[in-house]
Every structure is written in structure tokens, then in C-alpha cells.
Amino acid sequence: MKYGVNEHGYYGDFGGAYIPEMLYPNVEELRQQYVQILNDPGFKAEFEQLLRDYVGRPSPLYPAKRYSEKYGANIFFKREDLNHTGSHKINNAIGQILLARRLGKKRIIAETGAGQHGVATATVCALMGIECVVYMGEVDMERQAPNVSRMKMLGAKVVPATSGSKTLKDATNEAMRDWINNPVDTHYIIGSVVGPYPYPEMVAQFQSIISQETKKQLLEHTGNELPQYVMACVGGGSNAMGMFYHFLDDESVKLIAVEAAGQGVESGHSAATTFLGREGVLHGSRTILMQTDDGQVVEPYSISAGLDYPGIGPQHAHLYKVHRAQYVSITDDEALQAGLLCSQLEGIIPAIETAHALAYLEKMTFKKDDNVVICISGRGDKDLSTYIKYFGY
């Protein structure tokens, strides 16, 4: 694959495994074993069976009639929101729990922002009967309270991250510290295409089922497996990478990644990483991140907890740098309006993360026959209180 990873774990200038020695054996174990495990027919069969019978895949590719009329193109929603647990995060969680079991791990840790990955991880741990600890920023625990309760009900222990901005980046730090302290029996299920190699590649592969299905479904709907546009929101970037994956080498397909501008890119309250970031090292990989001139990580802001992250995955940094994908941004207000529009035009209440991708439709001009796929990465149940507060329902 032209945009794939090289033998040292790099996508162009980005990636690698910038980790302290304490994590080296864990990461090295994964690096040595994941390819073999993922290619094992037994693993594949179990993964596919769980995706079908437990997650409910394939997720539909829905031709969004009223959206198509409004925006003057054929707009398709890839319905990851219909997955069990309500988002794309479950695809990766299933893959990694099966991997962890084959590695003989007895305990699972995870970080979570919006709580979607935490819920997905708690779910698969319940399914497999494995102990589960989820780190979540204290601020996020408040704004995504329903997901905290869900994780607890599923039997997971939720540990608040109380350092820094008390959001996703800090939850990730705490999970890494836990892994350092528990190197032998614990597997860390990273929820996005971030972290040291092989995580970005592994998570992208588990999420690539999204674009794999899309191609087939698009062929059925339109007679062509390639659309003109593929769009997704980007925090760390796992739904976007899954949505882009099988289109990367089809250069005619325009890939659009939508970041969270928060209160505006220049407002000082934003999470638009490619606009505000520079190259550096975050959470184990060389990537683009928001930072001060001194290399201190800047605390990002977005109304959407799932996009409130100061970096992007290294493969995204590469796609950005070589202009394979276009990175754009959407403010809190634009996203919330788009969430309302989608609810009322299509009867689908999207996650606020997803609403960022939907909002960007307003800024595009399409030709009549353009086929456009948007990843509906998650459903909005967890965001109801934010929507309600904003719109006063």
C-alpha cells in the first residue's frame, strides 16, 4: 500500500515507537505477534463471526434521500451508529480483545474520551470475562455521565484522570502509566489510531472493515465501488482511518477529514490539530500535535469529548503532509446545528463527533452525480444533555 506503514513503523515522516524502556517489552511483543495473529484463519473467523453476530455487521450504507436533495449529490451514510454499543469503536475493541486473549493477558486497560471506546472495551471484557479498567478524564466523566454508568454496569472500573486538562490526553497518560506498572499480565486496548507502532496500524486494520464493506455496498447501490468523496470526523482519527483505508490507493476518491475547531480555529479554544499543530512526539509516535514553542502539549478544546485531543494519528499526519486527504475544521456551533439538521431531515440523532463531518457538507459544492459517503461514526444518545442544553428542548 502506497500510504501504508514501513518496516520501522513509519508512515512517511510519522509514526515510530517513542516509548520509555518500561513499555518496550509489551510493545515489542505486540509488534512481533500481531501480524501473525491477525492473519491466522482461526482469529479471522472468530473476529468476523463476532462482528456479524454480536456487533451486527455489516452496518448499512444508507442512501440519505433528504440529505441528497438538500446538498445536490448522492449522499450515503455509513451507519456505524447502528453497531452494538453505538459507535465504530466496537470493531477495534473486538479485534483487540481477541488478540489479548491469544497473548494470554488477564487484565485490560483502556483510555476513553467520549466514553464510546470505554463502553466498547467494557463490553468486550464482559463478553470474555476479563477484568477491565478504563481511564477517563474527570471533565469527560461529567460531560459524558451516561457512558460512565454504562461502563460500570458492564462491570468495568472507571478511574478518573485528574492531571492536566482532565480529558482524553490525560486519560491516555494514566493508561500508559498503568501499563508501565503492569507489564506482564495487562493488555492496553488503545481506542484510536494513535500510540506507538504497531497500534496505529493495528487499530486501522480492525477499523478498515468500514471501508471494506462500503466499497461492496456502494457497488450495489451505484454500480461503482468508488465514490467521489469520503468524509469522516477526526479526533485521533480511528473512524476516519477505517473509512479511508480501502480508498487510500484509489487516488480519484477525495478524502475529507473534519477536525473540531471548537469555538473557532483562532479562538484559543480549539482542537483543530492540523491547523494549530506542528510536528513532534505525542503518546509514543511522531505526529502532528498542538504544542507551545517549547514543546509542551497544549490543552485542546472541543464540545465533543471524542475530538478533544491535541494530536492526530501518525498516518493522518502523513496523509495531511502529502495531501492525500484534505483536513478541514468545523466549530461547536456548526456541529450542533448539523446534529439537529440530521435529526430532523433523516431521523438520525448523530454523536456530536459525527455531526462535525455532517456540518462540512454545508461548505462543499457538489456535481449532481457525485457520490458522497459520510461515516456516521456514532449515535447521539450520549450527547442528549449537550444538545438539549444548546437547543433548549
Binding site: 517513542y18 520509555p20 518496550y24 497518560n173 502509566r177 508501565i180 505525542l282 514543546g295
Partner: protein, 256 residues
């Protein structure tokens, strides 16, 4: 041969090294603290430059880093504070911190500047061996800086040998696989690990760090290595009033 090599040639046991975060508890005290530690008999020092996301550190060093950043510490400020380093301090000095601030400062520029003020070596826990060897080692070597690698109980023998070949001063042996600031519990497994390293007869001596917070842990570590490094316990101590005056007392509590 830098100051570290000379020290290891002249002194063969019970070496005590102290870590502290520059800019904590206040700015412009780096050399005062370093000088006081040298006077109290400490053999070499690690001066930490703070980072916003120190994943290998426990609450004590996290807190000191946060505070130091609030105080305005950064690499420019640190090198500024170190201008008179070699007028006031003669023991070996290492800088320790995470890679991203170095990347933003420029790794070549960082190495030049460090050598210029009289630093002897650098410890960067999240700078991987592959990147060091292929991209950055020339800057360290050209500037006479030792790059110190960490080794944990899980590090393979093959990797330890590789580390031994890439460095030229000492190997930083972690007492256990953990973040900083946990108290060391010496178990049979750890003793076996120390013995295993000793039996490898590496070209570099080993110094033990992480979890060394009192005389008992220090003494135990010195049975198996050239010496030991105290970090979190000293950073915690710096929260005391008049800490400069009390430094001799602290050092005595570790190594009477």
C-alpha cells in the same frame, strides 16, 4: 573521556546521584541546588527539564513538572540558568527529560548547547534506540555527550548488550518495571535480576534508579551496582521551607 567516565574510574562503590526538576519549586535555583548537593557529597546529578505529559513519572515528579512549567521553566531558561554551571559545580551533570521539548528546540542545537554549558550526558526515556542510532547519535557523540539508556527487569539480554554497545558511561538500571516514585520492595526476583545483569559483565557500569527513597534501598542497590539514583524522594523534600540549608541532612539520610 568526560566527567562521568572519570568519576567511574576513581570511585567504585556507593555512588549517590540525585535527580531534581529544574524550575521547581522556583526559578533560578538550579545551580544553588546543584552546588548544595555537591557540597553535601553527592557524586553526580540529573537535572530534569519539565514536560507537560510525563508518562513515565509518578505523581511527585508530575507535580514538580507542572509547577516548573507554571513558573516558566523551559529549555531556554534552563540553559540560561546553567551558564555558570562549571564555575560553581564540578561533579558530572546529566540532563533528563522527554523527547518532544528537545525536538522543538532542535536535537542538534540541544546537544551543542548542553556541551557548551558543561553537561556530560542526557537521559531521554522516550527516545527510542532505533531513532537514536540512526538519526541523533552523531549529535551526542560530536558534542561529547553520553546518552544513557534505561534497562528494566523485562529487558532482554540481547537488548541489554545492544544498549551496552551504544553507550559509554553507565546503564540506568530500573529497580522494577514501574513509573517513578514507587517505593522499592526488594524481592528475590529483583535480586536475581540484579545478579543476572552483574553476571553479564557489561563494559558500562550499572547504576540503579526508580524507587530508591531511603538508606535501606540505597544500601541494597549498592550491593549490586556502582551506586543508586534518588529522584522522587528528593523532589518531595524540596517542598520544605529552607530546603537549601537542609540538603546535607537529606543526603545523610540516604547515605550517612
Amino acid at each position: 573521556m568526560n566527567r562521568l567516565n572519570k568519576l567511574f574510574e576513581s570511585k567504585k562503590d556507593n555512588l549517590l546521584s540525585i535527580y531534581f526538576t529544574a524550575g521547581y519549586p522556583e526559578l533560578n535555583t538550579t545551580l544553588d541546588i546543584a552546588e548544595a548537593l555537591e557540597k553535601a557529597g553527592v557524586d553526580f546529578l540529573e537535572i530534569g527539564f519539565p514536560y507537560s505529559d510525563p508518562v513515565a513519572d509518578g505523581p511527585t515528579i508530575q507535580h514538580s513538572s507542572e509547577k516548573a512549567l507554571e513558573n516558566g521553566m523551559n529549555l531556554n531558561q534552563l540553559f540560561e540558568e546553567l551558564i555558570d554551571l562549571r564555575k560553581r559545580v564540578s561533579i558530572p551533570i546529566l540532563l533528563m527529560g522527554y523527547v518532544n521539548p528537545m525536538v522543538q528546540y532542535g536535537i542538534e542545537r540541544f546537544c551543542k548547547k548542553a556541551a557548551e554549558v558543561g553537561v556530560d550526558g542526557v537521559i531521554v526515556p522516550d527516545l527510542p534506540m532505533y531513532e537514536y542510532e540512526n538519526l541523533y547519535s552523531k549529535y551526542f557523540i560530536d558534542n561529547g555527550l553520553s546518552n544513557i539508556f534505561l534497562v528494566t527487569p523485562q529487558t532482554s539480554e540481547e537488548r541489554i548488550r545492544k544498549i551496552d554497545s551504544l553507550t559509554n558511561s553507565f546503564i540506568y538500571l530500573l529497580s522494577s518495571s514501574s513509573i517513578t516514585g514507587k517505593n522499592l520492595q526488594v524481592s528475590n526476583a529483583i535480586e536475581n535480576y540484579y545478579k543476572r545483569i552483574k553476571a553479564m559483565q557489561l563494559k558500562n557500569p550499572a547504576v540503579i534508579g526508580f524507587g530508591i527513597s531511603n538508606n535501606e534501598a540505597f544500601t541494597k542497590a549498592c550491593e549490586y551496582a556502582l551506586g543508586a539514583i534518588v529522584g522522587s524522594a528528593f523532589v518531595k523534600f524540596l517542598a520544605n521551607d529552607n530546603y537549601l540549608e537542609k540538603i546535607p541532612e537529606f543526603v545523610k539520610s540516604i547515605r550517612p
